[in-house]
Assembly symmetry: C2
C-alpha cells in the first residue's frame, strides 16, 4: 500500500487514505480519533457523494481484472471486515459501497449471534467457511471479532479464552494474507450522540422502524464496556499484515467515500492484470466465423 | 401478476410486461419469437437505459419491504432463473439489473458443470441448497434446467431420466411456490448471428478475451440441438405456478430493462408491507433518550 505522497487528485488527498486512517501503533484510545472528522477530504456532503460516484468506474475495472486473473490461476482476493457499534453503518456500506461492485465478484457473510450448532465448534469454524474464493471481494458484516467483543462485554467466555482468541485471530489472518488475501479491517467509529440520533430516527420513521430492536438500548448502556473491548481488540490484533483502519463515521457520506476509497486503494496496490490466454486468437476467430 | 391493461407509463406499456413476455401455451417454436424485437418498449437504446435507471428507486423500495417483512415472520421471496445460450447475457443481467438491488437482500448461485461429488447426488441436490431464504431475491445463473438441456444434447443421461426430470422440476417448483417463492424463469432469446458477433467481440477486445473459451464454439455448432432441447424444456415445464418468460435479448439494453421490469412487476404483485413492530414506540423513544 502506497503510504507516501500521492497526486493531489481533486485537491483531496496529499497521501493515501489508507495511510491516513491506519490505526496508530501502541495503546489505543478512541479519544485520539474524532468520529466527526473527514480526514483526506476537504469538501462536504454533496462533493462527497460526487466523489463516491467517480470511484465506481475505476473500482469496477479493478474488480473485473482481479476476477479475470483468478480464472487463469490467480490466487489473490480481498476481504473487507466491517466492525462497529449498532447504527455505525455496516448496512449502509453494503448498500452504497458494495453495491457499486459487480455481484458476480462479491461474497457477503453476515455474522449474527452464533447458532447452537455453531457454538459447538471453535469460534473460527463458521468464519473459515465464509472465506472469499480467489478473485472475489469478500465482505464480513461483523466477523470473528465479535468473539472478543460481545464475548468480553457479556462474559460469554473466560478471560483466558479471550486472550487465546487474540492470538488465534492473528494466526488466522496471517494464514489468509499468506494465501493471497488482502485484508481491510475497518472500525466504523461513531459517537454515542450519533448513535442516539440514529436510533431515534429509526423509531420515528415508519420505513426504518423494522430495523429497531429494543435490545439495541441494552447494548447502548454498555457503551463504555464496548469501547474498552474494541480498543483492546484493535490494539491486540493490529498487525503489519492485517492492520486496522479507524473510519470516522458520524458523517455517512464520508464513511461511504472512505470505505470505497480504501477498497480502491487496496485493489490498485494489488495491480491485477488481464490474464494471458492459452489459445490461438486468429485460429479461434476463424473457428467462430466458420461455425 | 396483473395481466390486463396498465397505466400508459411513459407511453411504453399498455399491458404488463409479464403478460407480454409470458411463453404462449402449447408446442414451443422459437421461430414464433423475434430475438431482435423490443415488446412493450417504444424507444431505443438511450431511452431504454434511462427507463432502467428510473426503475432503481421503486425496485429498491419494494426489495427493502420484502426483506423487512421477513424479519417479522414473512415467508415470501423471489427466485429469478436465468437461462440462455452462451453470450445471451446472464452475466450482464447480474451486473446491470441485480446490481441495482441492495446486496444484503440478494443471494446469487451460479451452476457450472457439476463436480464429481455433486454428480453422486440427485440433480436437484445442489439446487436445493441454494434456494433463497425468506425475504431474499435469489438469482440462479443457469439452474436445474441444465440437467435437461446439456444433459439431453450431450446424452449425459438416458431419455427416460430426462423425462423423469421434467416431472421432478415441476414438482420442485410447485413446492417452492407453495412455500412463498415467486419464481421468474427467463429464457434469454438471442439469434445465432448475435452470438457470433459477441464471441468475435470477446476475441478482439483484450479486456473481454478472458471470457472466451474455445469450448464455446463446440457448443455453438450444436445450436439446433440446444434450440430443440430448450423448446422442449420450456414446453414441458411451463406451469401456471412457474411460467416461462421469453426475453428477446439481441439488444442488451432491452434485455436489461425487460428483466428489471419483470422483477419489479413480480415484487409489486406481492405487495410487501412494512411489518408491524411488537414494542411500544413511545416507551422505546424514552429509553433511547434516557440512555
Amino acid at each position: 500500500m502506497r503510504a507516501g505522497a500521492a497526486g493531489d487528485q481533486n485537491g483531496q488527498m496529499s497521501q493515501s487514505l489508507s495511510a491516513r486512517l491506519r490505526l496508530r501503533p501502541g495503546p489505543v484510545d478512541f479519544g485520539d480519533y474524532d468520529p466527526d472528522a473527514t480526514p483526506g477530504f476537504s469538501g462536504g456532503k454533496k462533493k462527497g457523494k460526487q466523489a463516491l460516484d467517480q470511484l465506481e468506474g475505476p473500482l469496477a475495472d479493478l474488480q473485473e481484472r482481479l476476477y479475470a486473473e483468478s480464472r487463469e490461476g490467480g490466487e489473490r482476493r480481498i476481504l473487507l471486515v466491517l466492525q462497529g457499534m449498532d447504527t455505525s453503518g455496516k448496512g449502509g456500506i453494503i448498500k452504497h459501497c458494495v453495491g457499486l461492485l459487480d455481484p458476480q465478484g462479491v461474497t457477503l457473510a453476515s455474522f449474527r449471534a452464533p447458532s447452537r450448532s455453531e457454538k459447538r465448534h471453535d469460534f473460527l469454524w463458521r468464519i473459515e467457511k465464509e472465506r472469499p474464493a480467489a478473485g472475489m471481494v469478500g465482505i464480513f458484516d461483523r466477523s470473528h471479532y465479535e468473539d472478543v467483543l460481545i464475548a468480553r462485554v457479556r462474559s460469554l467466555a473466560p478471560e483466558a479464552e479471550i486472550e487465546r482468541r487474540y492470538v488465534a485471530i492473528n494466526d488466522f489472518e496471517r494464514r489468509l494474507t499468506d494465501g493471497g488475501t488482502a485484508i481491510i479491517k475497518c472500525f466504523l467509529h461513531i459517537s454515542k450522540a450519533a448513535q442516539g440520533e440514529r436510533l431515534l430516527a429509526r423509531l420515528t420513521d415508519p420505513t426504518k422502524r423494522w430495523k429497531y430492536n429494543p435490545g439495541d438500548v441494552d447494548e447502548r448502556v454498555l457503551w463504555p464496556d464496548y469501547r474498552r473491548a474494541y480498543q483492546l481488540a484493535l490494539e491486540r490484533c493490529h498487525t503489519s499484515v492485517a492492520p486496522w483502519y479507524v473510519v470516522p463515521s458520524d458523517h455517512k457520506w464520508y464513511r461511504n467515500w472512505a470505505i470505497t476509497t480504501l477498497l480502491t486503494e487496496h485493489l490498485s496496490a494489488l495491480g491485477p492484470k488481464w490474464p494471458k490466454v492459452d489459445f490461438d486468437i486468429a485460429e479461434e476467430i476463424a473457428r467462430v466465423k466458420a461455425s
